[in-house]
Symmetry: C2
Subunit: 153 residues, 2 copies
DNA sequence: AATTAGTCTATAAATTCGATAGGCTAATTG
DNA sequence: CAATTAGCCTATCGAATTTATAGACTAATT
């Protein structure tokens, strides 16, 4: 399970991705649009900024914006920043590894072997899915649902 | 992240799988072997029993045992019992679905589309990995590590 | 009947999560 | 340069969840 914080963060990132290129967005506006408690969102955005995913500007005309292209920001990187890891157990995390206390031999721990497979599968998806791709999939799905046929090239 | 409870449960199941066919195992013995707080383990085993994964016997010579063959118990079923779901968000869970409050249209929610992929990938692994397979992989790994070559057929 | 060992309910302790408050700093603008 | 705007940062609180413990009860065996 991902935390509410992580979900809020992903929502905010996608909103910023939709707005990409059109200047900074106010925390307050993002919070209202996405129905996220403003002060909580503030912390989330700050964390994403410190991780290099977002940029910000202070003062009038300021706000938050993506530090890179939507096609260069992966879901995996965001989840790692906000949730700490993609791994189901700390002993298979690549970025937040922690030795398993109770397990004598990590190499032969059955639980670990299976959870490593899970981690790899999750990482394979999230590290290869960019914000841009998510936007495209989302709009494709809503077009399909609305039976709107898009003839544009 | 799976909970400590789930991890304890999986440890216990694997220990019972190793012992399969040799009669019931005492909670107390399992707790000591696997270094799990006894009273906590008691609750875990009970939950697995109520889910039909374990069986038990009371009185002298009693204890817990697998209710089915190790090859018929999947990691997925155990995690679902103990952790509630495999899904990273409730709105993509097959067994513990909960509607997403903030999301207007589930079908086109980008986060949901990606998390559905994650759920499916995790389920594909855990629902197709049995306790028996875990034991085999584990012993294979430890043989390999000890450079022991097994010539038996 | 005595003993053994799981069952069940309640609750305590610890940790994490979600949320809020408020003063600080930097940038812009008049 | 002063006023305003808006993000930065630290602290903290309450609620929920997780982890762990206690103790009385029931069923099975000897």
């Amino acid at each position: 399970m991902i935390s509410k914080k992580t979900k809020y963060g992903l929502q905010a990132l996608l909103a910023l991705a939709r707005n990409h290129g059109a200047g900074p967005v106010l925390i307050a506006d993002l919070a209202e649009q996405e129905q996220i408690p403003k002060k909580f969102l503030e912390l989330i955005l700050l964390q994403l900024k410190n991780a290099g995913i977002l940029g910000s500007r202070k003062g009038k005309g300021g706000g938050y914006f993506l530090a890179k292209n939507p096609a260069q920001i992966t879901m995996g990187s965001a989840v790692r920043v906000l949730d700490g890891t993609l791994a189901p157990v700390p002993c298979v995390s690549e970025t937040a590894y922690q030795k398993c206390t109770e397990c004598a031999d990590e190499e032969s721990c059955g639980i670990r072997l299976v959870m490593k497979d899970v981690r790899d599968a999750v990482a394979d998806i999230l590290d290869n899915t960019t914000l841009k791709e998510v936007l495209v999939r989302s709009s494709d799905a809503s077009k399909r649902a609305n039976k709107v046929i898009d003839y544009s090239i």
